[in-house]
């Protein structure tokens, strides 16, 4: 189970790094990157939970959850980018 | 009969609530319909109250209950005390409605005015019929809401300012009342109004009860205009005359006084309250208010302001009567609830008439007005004499019983001087007005003579209401011993309060 723990802890670190950058950065793009890293951290925790050693079958539930989360994340990213672009266009007009 | 006892209190509320709501939706120009709705509502209410009086006199129980929340019941309950206040409000509402119809002719926003006017009476009647403290608080706040637009009605900066000040005082008072009520409610599990009070046997911490008493009385004292919580009342006189009349005689000020009576008699129980030692303080405040109000009235040239300070002073007679332990003082205080209402409404009607007909707003402009407006001035005179306490007008009865009560309770040493001083002061600020009106001749042209060239001094709708109420003030004084008179009724209540 040590491998799972290594990745889970990495996930925790990624998550908090993302939170930190979201709080510290002010412009949108870096914040979006940060939020995506955050998400990656959470996903990593989920997937490491599913991993039960190379010999046992994995737990498919967290995998499915992460897949869902991944799609939600890109939807939100796309929306945020579109909003941001419109705002810049307005600033230029 | 069962259904009757449940529906009668609700019917009394609805008889002004429904017309009020309907009136809101009437277009401005539907004058006749509005008048009919108003009068129909007032007459139905009068009829229902008549049934109520008869029933309560024969010890029937009228009660409506509706659970609003766990432990919080909306209770309408008619006992002798409620009947006293209900009949006063109903009668004076009818008269004031007629007066207001005449007074507001051709002014804008009448649908709004009469809508709120009816709501205001509904709230007052609700207060009277409230069967527990929770219901009382509900109507107490509703009264604030219904009267605020009436005071602000003219929309002028002064009117808005007066209304704002009124609101500040009453919201604050309502809040304290609510806190006190919730506190007491939490301790007892429900505060029903029961003749003789409920706290005597409840075995609660006495100092807590004192604090709660303070909260309740301060909350109620705002509306009752106890010094130093009276500041809103002189400001609120910017309202149209019918509103002032109703405010001073029935609705707001009386609601406060009535509430104090309720709390002392039917929640704490007067003997228990005396035991707690809170009545002495209340009596002192009442005495100060009586003297202070009279002194302030003395220095006012503005007629409605003088009347307003007179109200400050007079309403505290009720509180004073309540603060003295003993049936006779109780009778004096309770009967003054009615007497002061009838007399004060007369005075405000008259003041409104002076302003309406001749543009007179100040005492100094009243020289010789008696000859020009004899009917109005006659009514004013009766009211003023009553206020001073000259027999046989009703005010005398109140003061007489208060004095007797003080002697009975052994409080004569401080009550009698207060009564005498205040009567002298009353005389000092009312008699000069009467003198100017009747005996001086007109010294300057009327500020704004709108009735020049008319045969009669005023339209019927403006003249008859003050004459009616003045006659009432005279009659209830003369016939004080007759059955169903306010005095008889006050004796009935006192008998029930001191029964055990």
């Amino acid at each position: 189970m040590t491998q799972a723990l290594i990745y889970a802890l990495t996930g925790a670190v990624l998550f908090m790094l993302g939170v930190r950058a979201t709080l510290l950065r002010e412009t949108l793009l870096p914040r979006l990157l940060a939020l995506n890293v955050c998400g990656a951290g959470v996903f990593l925790i989920f997937v490491s939970l599913a991993y039960r050693g190379d010999s046992l079958p994995v737990d498919p539930v967290p995998h499915a959850l992460v897949l869902t989360g991944l799609v939600v994340a890109i939807s939100a990213t796309a929306l945020a980018l579109a909003l941001n672009r419109r705002l810049r266009e307005m600033a230029d007009e | 009969m069962m259904a009757m006892s449940v529906w009668l209190p609700v019917g009394i509320l609805l008889s002004s609530l429904i017309p009020g709501v309907l009136i809101f939706f009437q277009p401005e120009e539907r004058h006749r319909l509005r008048t009919w709705l108003n009068l129909l509502g007032a007459l139905i209410k009068l009829l229902l109250v008549g049934m109520l009086i008869w029933g309560v006199f024969h010890e029937q129980v009228f009660e409506t209950r509706w659970t609003m929340a766990p432990g919080l019941e909306f209770v309408l309950h008619a006992d002798a005390l409620s009947v006293l206040f209900v009949s006063l409000s109903t009668l004076l509402w009818l008269v004031t409605t007629i007066y207001a119809i005449g007074y507001l002719e051709q002014t804008p926003h009448r649908s709004r005015f009469f809508g709120f006017f009816s709501l205001c009476v509904t709230a007052t009647v609700g207060l009277a019929l409230a069967g527990n403290l929770f219901t009382f608080v509900v109507f107490y706040e509703l009264l604030t809401l219904a009267t605020y637009p009436l005071i602000a009605h003219k929309g002028s900066p002064e009117a808005l300012r007066g209304a704002r000040i009124y609101l500040r005082y009453t919201l604050f008072g309502g809040l304290l009342l609510m806190i006190g009520a919730v506190w007491l409610h939490t301790l007892t599990g429900g505060v029903e109004f029961v003749e003789g009070g409920i706290l005597q046997t409840a075995n609660l911490d006495q100092s807590t009860l004192r604090w709660i008493f303070l909260l309740l009385i301060v909350g109620l004292g705002v509306k009752a205009a106890l010094v130093p919580l009276h500041g809103w009342l002189p400001q609120a006189m910017v309202a149209p005359a019918p509103v002032s009349a109703l405010l001073h005689a029935v609705a707001v000020v009386k609601a406060g006084a009535f509430g104090i009576v309720r709390v002392i008699y039917d929640v704490y129980g007067v003997e228990f309250a005396a035991e707690l030692g809170v009545l002495t303080l209340l009596g002192a405040v009442a005495a100060i208010t009586i003297i202070y109000g009279s002194l302030k009235a003395l220095s006012q040239d503005h007629l409605k302001k003088r009347l307003a300070y007179s109200t400050v002073s007079q309403v505290s007679y009720i509180v004073l009567g309540t603060a003295i332990v003993g049936p006779l003082a109780t009778i004096g205080g309770l009967v003054h609830l009615v007497h002061q209402g009838v007399m004060k409404i007369t005075l405000f009607f008259a003041a409104g008439n002076y302003a309406e007909a001749l543009g007179i707003h100040r005492v100094s402009e009243m020289d010789g007005v008696g000859r020009r407006m004899p009917g109005t001035t006659l009514a004013f005179t009766i009211g003023a004499l009553g206020m001073i306490g000259i027999p046989p007008v009703a005010g005398f009865i109140s003061k007489w019983y208060l004095g007797l009560g003080a002697v009975e309770a052994g409080a004569a040493a401080w009550v009698l001087p207060v009564l005498i001083a205040s009567s002298l002061l009353n005389a000092a600020y009312f008699l000069p007005i009467l003198y100017r009106a009747w005996f001086k001749s007109q010294s300057a042209p009327w500020p704004a003579d709108k009735t020049a060239g008319c045969v009669r001094e005023l339209p019927d709708a403006l003249l008859w209401p003050p004459l009616t109420t003045a006659a009432m003030a005279l009659l209830i004084g003369l016939l004080a011993a007759a059955p169903y008179s306010p005095l008889e009724w006050a004796e009935l209540i006192a008998g029930r309060e001191y029964r055990q």
Binding site: A8, F15, G18, T22, L28, R31, L32, L35, C38, G39, V42, I45, F46, L49, L65, T68, G69, V72, S75, A76, L79, A80, L83, N84, L87, M90, A91 | T67, M68, A69, P70, G71, L72, F74, F134, V137, V138, F139, E141, L142, T144, L145, Y148, P149, A152, G155, L160, A163, R164, L167, L171, G174, L175, M178, I179, V182, W183, H185, T186, L187
Partner: protein
């Protein structure tokens, strides 16, 4: 067919798809969809009232492996609020957006928002809650953009980014719960969760995320710009419903799932934040120059009131007294939902008529728009907590809990908050009822004025006189944990 739980979700979703396919009919589809959603919710409510909490195991899989929908008293009340409010707002929006080129997008997203709300209130699975939260957040953001102004887009963008951060915090909490307890089903979790590091950390992360979404002071800063710049119907549902969804989830977590974990201190902290929110929100609302901004800050304050209940609930012993307090909390949330949506709709009517919503220039509103002015007054009564509104009863019970628990510290907060609410409401009414030409004369009572006044009446009369239903429903719980 005899388990109706899916319909409150399926009906608005299906309507949304139809509105997307037939944009020219979108208004009618939107109205019909809202009405049918209402019917679906009524169906569910009746069943809960008659036979207690109900559960639907989706796909026929046992909850845990599959996802369960659950309806109990609390969720039914929230559903009823959201469907009634959204029905009224839909009627208003059918007028508001009738000439907008964004009409069909509005209706699609509107129906998606209702779908999200209903799905959230019915969900019995932690991860599914995350998905509904995201759906709610995204559709709310897009709706808030529909005004198209720069301010509204900027506010929506900030709302989106913070919402994403909040969802992430929620999601990592879900991950920790799954790590510790091996299931996502809330009923199973309610029985399994016990006090320990996993529960503490997970609860604080999830609560932290939800606090952002419920805009509790000091995490409220995103709310006023987002709510005050959105189109009126959108502001109405954002303030009335979307914020409540987060509060609802906090309640679920604290009272049903983590009831053994929650400590008095934690509750006290949230209560204190709530207290500051009440005072700060009301104070800023009093200073506000714009009507919608005032309404938004008033939402900050009102949310604060809801959190005042937490330390009281934590201190009360389980049983009737606690259920009474919990009912009061829910009643306050419901009343605010109805009153605030009415308020925003009325503000929308004024803005469309006058072209602005500067409070100081609202003179003449009462003459030009009497029904709308009346709506503002009624809604104001409910916001202050005066009778006969539901919030009066709720405040009474709140004060009562204060006295029972002896937590005196909340007394001044409630008192000052009430007075401040009175001050900002009557300040507004003072301007609105003053004479003036700020608002053009009205030709007739517009159809758009009616929904607002009905909502305000619901807040003041319906929830005042028939509030006991709330207390009957609240104790019906789908979760073993307790009153939640």
């Amino acid at each position: 067919m005899n388990n109706p739980l899916i319909w409150p979700v399926a009906v608005p979703l299906l309507s949304a798809l139809l509105a997307l396919l037939w944009p020219r009919r979108s208004t009618w589809i939107g109205l019909l969809g809202s009405a049918l959603s209402l019917a679906a919710v009524v169906l569910v409510s009746r069943q809960v009232i008659e036979s207690g909490a109900i559960e639907l195991a989706l796909g026929g899989w046992s909850p845990g492996l599959g996802i369960a929908l659950r309806a109990d008293g609390l969720s039914v009340l929230m559903l009823l609020m959201s469907t009634l409010v959204s029905m009224a707002v839909a009627v208003y929006a059918s007028v508001y957006f009738s000439r907008s080129e964004r009409r069909s997008e509005f209706w699609v997203l509107w129906l998606l928002l209702i779908t999200a709300l209903h799905a959230l209130f019915l969900s019995g699975d932690l991860f599914n809650l995350y998905v509904t939260l995201e759906l709610l957040g995204l559709s709310a953001v897009v709706l808030a953009c529909l005004g198209g102004s720069r301010e509204s887009l900027q506010a929506a963008l900030n709302y989106l980014v913070l919402g994403l951060l909040a969802s992430m915090a929620f999601l990592i909490g879900v991950a920790l719960i799954y790590a510790g307890y091996g299931t996502l089903d809330m009923a199973a979790l309610a029985a399994a969760i016990e006090s320990g590091p996993t529960a503490w950390v997970a609860l604080s992360l999830m609560t932290g995320g939800l606090l952002i979404k419920s805009a509790l002071f000091p995490l409220h800063f995103w709310l006023p710009p987002a709510h005050s710049n959105a189109p009126a119907p959108v502001s109405a549902v954002l303030s009335a419903l979307v914020v409540k969804a987060a509060v609802y989830l906090i309640l679920r977590l604290w009272l049903a799932l983590f009831d053994e974990v929650v400590t008095q201190t934690a509750a006290l902290v949230l209560g204190l934040l709530g207290g500051v929110a009440v005072l700060w929100g009301s104070w800023v609302a009093l200073q506000a120059e714009r009507l919608k901004l005032m309404a938004a800050y008033s939402t900050v304050a009102q949310v604060g009131y809801l959190f005042l209940f937490l330390p009281l609930l934590a201190a009360l012993p389980e049983g009737t007294t606690r259920d009474v307090a919990l009912g009061a909390l829910v009643l306050l949330a419901l009343t605010h939902g109805f009153a605030k949506s009415a308020f925003f709709l009325a503000a929308g009517v004024i803005m469309q008529r006058a072209g602005h919503d500067r409070i100081a220039e609202l003179g003449g509103t009462a003459r030009a728009l009497p029904v709308t002015a009346f709506t503002l007054a009624l809604a104001g009564v409910a916001l202050i907590g005066l009778p006969p509104s539901g919030s009066f009863l709720a405040k009474w019970q709140l004060l009562s809990s204060v006295f029972i628990t002896g937590q005196w510290i909340w007394l001044p907060v409630i008192a000052v908050g009430t007075l401040l609410a009175g001050a900002y409401t009557f300040r507004l009414l003072g301007y609105a009822f003053a004479p003036g030409e700020g608002v053009g004369p009205s030709l007739s009572v517009g159809r758009e004025e009616i929904p607002a006044v009905l909502l305000a009446l619901a807040a003041t009369l319906l929830l005042g006189f028939w509030a006991s239903v709330v207390w009957e429903l609240v104790p019906i719980s789908a979760y073993a944990g307790g009153g939640g």
